[in-house]
Amino acid sequence: MKKMVVLIGNYGSGKTELALNFAFKAAERGERTELIDLDMVNTFFRLTERGRLARLREIRVVSPNYACSGIESLSVPAEVQSAFAMDWDTVIFDVGGDAVGSTALGRYHQDFMELPEGSLEVLNVVNIRRPLAGTVEKILRLQEEMQIHGRLKITGMINNTNLAQMTTDAELRDGYEMIREASEKTGVPVAYTSGKRELLERFLAEGHDPRFIGTPLPIDTYMQRDWDSWVKGLGGPSEQVLFTSAGG
């Protein structure tokens, strides 16, 4: 049976990184895989930038018209329909951030509804270190808005809490607590907990309730930025010594 995974969530929650990880793992299992870049709201950091990595794994990539060409007006290509019309084992939709980005899904409402029962997963990627997902209330509000705009019911949440290069053990743990509360309030299960392998293993060893962990998903990083090679001091308050002419 064809399996479809739709990844939605707050800007910067890690949807694209997860989309690549899901797709690459599916391809490793020998599945016929298609990746759909449906981000219609952000010009930068899109899945299409890693299209070559996907194609090397014989994954088909569908991109918005003019993506990565330096032009800002994107349009949805007719080719997205191939997700439904063609014979795939796994199709992954990487959707733009927030409710605005989810709107792009509405166009395919009928197609999604016609999928066989149980073949569609709509996953809300949550990183509680992002400001617009920093409280249970914010997570719930965002989830509700994305469901309305995307015309799809969210079937699971992903705890992908991280602080980029500065991620520590506290991130997944704090994410777990908050997402557990959101899950209990909405009845939407936690489908996956994802993170760098060693962080994830330490988190799992802490013995949390597996019902709010879901499937552990160790991830590799593919969406490195150019600046990852030269950004020093990582972020946060810096220890650099500054001078001022007023002497203070």
């Binding site: 330096g70 030269w230 972020g235 650099q240 001078f243 007023a246």
Partner: protein, 359 residues
């Protein structure tokens, strides 16, 4: 305090709100559209006003009006949009209105491209609009630094009654970094502290307390007096508001000058060169107006320093100020790119090694 993972645009917008900004007027343009987007959601939550103007020109004139009431006002745009704002910026400077203007620089001239650039240095620090005016101009090199500068930007703007300009770039706006966000400042317009502000005057009130926000001085005498006042303020700002960073410059044989994001590439190159035994340091102006001429001169004229390399993503704009500071005291070379490509640590290292070998 807990760290949050924030995109530069969001962080700058949130910091402005925490610093007391309650009015945002702007118009979308890549790579800073996330700033108005964030403001549109956040301003109503704090009782502020977000207004998407019909153009950049309208937006800056709304800034003029709102700043005239003493409120903390901000606008943001990217290079071509900031060009459109120049007339209004000159008016704000002439009328001595404190406000904050963000330029998230992209490639130019004209529409250029949407990638990060530093080619608006001249526009920012050498004028841009008409008349003898300056803007307090800051070039942050990290998301956290952009937040930290924002937290004092309004105070500086109010202290000198002059607009503050941020020269950020597409990388700062788009990159996501863990940051610490300061607490909200409780700002209210205080007519005692801002006697010039238009906070409400009715017939019968003291005519002297009537605020007039204006940049026109018809007769030569009064315009001259006004300009002399402005110049006295600028002289004071030049004296007090220079801000810079020295990184491993104490024993350096080569000093690299760079501002904004490029300085971070340079910092990494400095570390890597030091590991190779090359004594090199970074001098980074954070305030590019006022430019830290004297501190740079002192740093470079030390006996240990053989030469200076200026690195920018433009044709060498800050280079002019670097040369003015050094006054021919040491050789100055330049390395830069023009199409919004950022220099790599490898390129900077090669350039320094070439200079060391005397090529």
């Amino acid at each position: 305090m807990a760290l949050t993972l924030m995109k530069g645009s969001e962080a700058i917008a949130e910091a402005a709100i925490r610093a007391g900004a309650r009015f945002f007027f702007g118009y979308p343009i890549t790579p800073q559209t996330e700033i108005p987007e964030y403001m549109s959601a956040r301003m109503p939550e704090v009782g502020g006003c977000f207004l998407q103007a019909e153009s950049e020109i309208a937006a800056i004139n709304m800034v003029y009006g709102a700043a005239g009431t003493g409120a903390r006002v901000i606008t943001s745009s990217s290079s071509p949009g900031v060009s459109l704002k120049q007339e209004g910026i000159s008016y704000c400077a002439g009328a001595q209105l404190p406000c904050v203007i963000l330029n998230v620089m992209r490639g130019g001239p004209g529409l250029g491209n949407i990638q990060a650039s530093q080619a608006d240095y001249f526009q920012g620090v050498k004028g841009g609009g008409n008349g003898d005016y300056h803007l307090l101009t800051y070039a942050p090199s990290s998301v956290q630094e952009a937040i930290d500068i924002m937290m004092f930007a309004f105070e500086k703007a109010e202290k000198y009654r002059m607009p503050v300009l941020f020269l950020a770039d597409g990388i700062i706006a788009q990159m996501m970094e863990p940051v610490e966000m300061p607490e909200m400042v409780d700002y209210k317009v205080d007519p005692e502290k801002k006697p010039w502000a238009c906070t409400g005057w009715k017939p019968g009130d003291d005519p002297k307390k009537r605020g007039v926000i204006n940049s026109i001085y018809i007769d030569t005498e009064s315009l001259s007096v006004h300009n002399e006042e402005l110049q006295a303020i600028y002289a004071e700002a030049k004296k007090n508001e220079q801000l810079w960073e020295c990184y491993k410059t104490e024993d350096a044989e080569f000093i690299i000058t760079a501002f904004g994001t490029v300085a971070r590439v340079v910092k990494t190159a400095v570390d890597e060169l030091r590991e190779m035994g090359v004594k090199v340091g970074l001098f980074r102006p954070i305030s590019v107006w006022p430019f830290p001429y004297e501190p740079l001169r002192e740093t470079v004229l030390r006996d240990s320093v053989k030469a200076v390399l200026d690195v920018e993503v433009n044709e060498g704009q800050m280079l002019e100020d670097v040369r003015l500071a050094i006054e021919g005291g040491k050789p100055v070379e330049f390395f830069g790119h023009l199409g919004s490509q950022f220099p790599t640590t490898g390129e900077i290292k090669s350039k320094i090694l070439e200079m060391k070998e005397g090529k």
